[in-house]
Symmetry: C3
Subunit: 130 residues, 3 copies
């Protein structure tokens, strides 16, 4: 029954922005959210509010920052980005409990959910993702 396997795997491996938001409001200490995007820091200064910034390229040397007793949520740029999937694979193989946030920062911004700007504090993005 491959269709059911597909949905089970996807629901096991991912969490949507709205589900993450609701769940973290009920259990503020349940998750450890990581922004794993690589690239120049000025293009990724806007992050999801309260995200821990650990670029994929620094993951191995900064593993000690990631708690084993929390559910790890990773995200990158958009639905077509594979960086979060690579990190999720690495951490799952190392025994962590990991999910990918679907749609990355792009979906989060499109829904006007709360973000942080590392140089300017918390703010709300414009309504259009362009």
């Amino acid at each position: 029954m491959p269709a059911l396997d597909y949905f089970n795997a996807r629901l096991e491996a991912t969490i949507s922005p709205m589900d993450y938001l609701k769940s973290t409001q009920m259990n503020p200490d349940k998750y450890f959210l990581i922004d794993v995007r690589n690239g120049p820091i000025h293009v990724r200064s806007l992050t999801i509010k309260d995200a821990n910034v650990i670029p994929q390229q620094e993951l191995q040397e900064r593993l000690n920052e990631i708690p084993k007793d929390k559910e790890i949520i990773v995200y990158c740029w958009d639905v077509w980005c594979n960086t979060a999937a690579k990190v999720a694979k690495y951490l799952l193989e190392d025994g962590y409990n990991v999910k990918e946030l679907t749609g990355g920062i792009a979906a989060w911004k499109e829904m006007n959910l709360p973000v942080s700007d590392t140089s300017q504090g918390v703010n709300i993005p414009d309504s259009c993702g362009c």
Copy 2:
């Protein structure tokens, strides 16, 4: 051969907007399309034309509205939405034949495919998804 498994599962579990449109034009009675989005009704008054509106939160009590002899197509907001996947999993486990419409209402609108507005009748959306 995990890559082949991946594509087989995805093609078994999903149908694209264009494939759905072509197939339903040839076989108008083949499918039962369900809009499973939750949330305030005013933000989801625009639906795919001829969709049956059964929010995920009402699914269990409205199961009797879903025919067992048709192919069930479910959709939610966008590619990053997991609500349709949850409904698909639930219905597959209950013996229904189910596929998810890829991209949800967002992809459908982006291609200017026919929609309904529950308060205003059928119309065609603007060309830009912003």
Copy 3:
């Protein structure tokens, strides 16, 4: 461990635009990139630079154009498009080494990566995908 299976399968079956770009710059002869979109040619005149245009509907009769000794990368319109997945499945079953380019032409254009216009030569698209 379905979450790990999910990420392994996705990483085996897909390559992101950025990963493809970096890899092809280091190994220009490693890949054979195919634009498999169907539909009127005027709506798909803009392609990824150096892509081979073989619409899915012409695949069977043009199989001889596809080299067996390269890694085949296929793409279509967007993340919700299934045409590239269908071609990937077909070619994998025929013994080719195949990956799908995530996000299709839409993600590629959104990042302003190099494209070709079959009627006008190589150019760079505008910054907004609208």
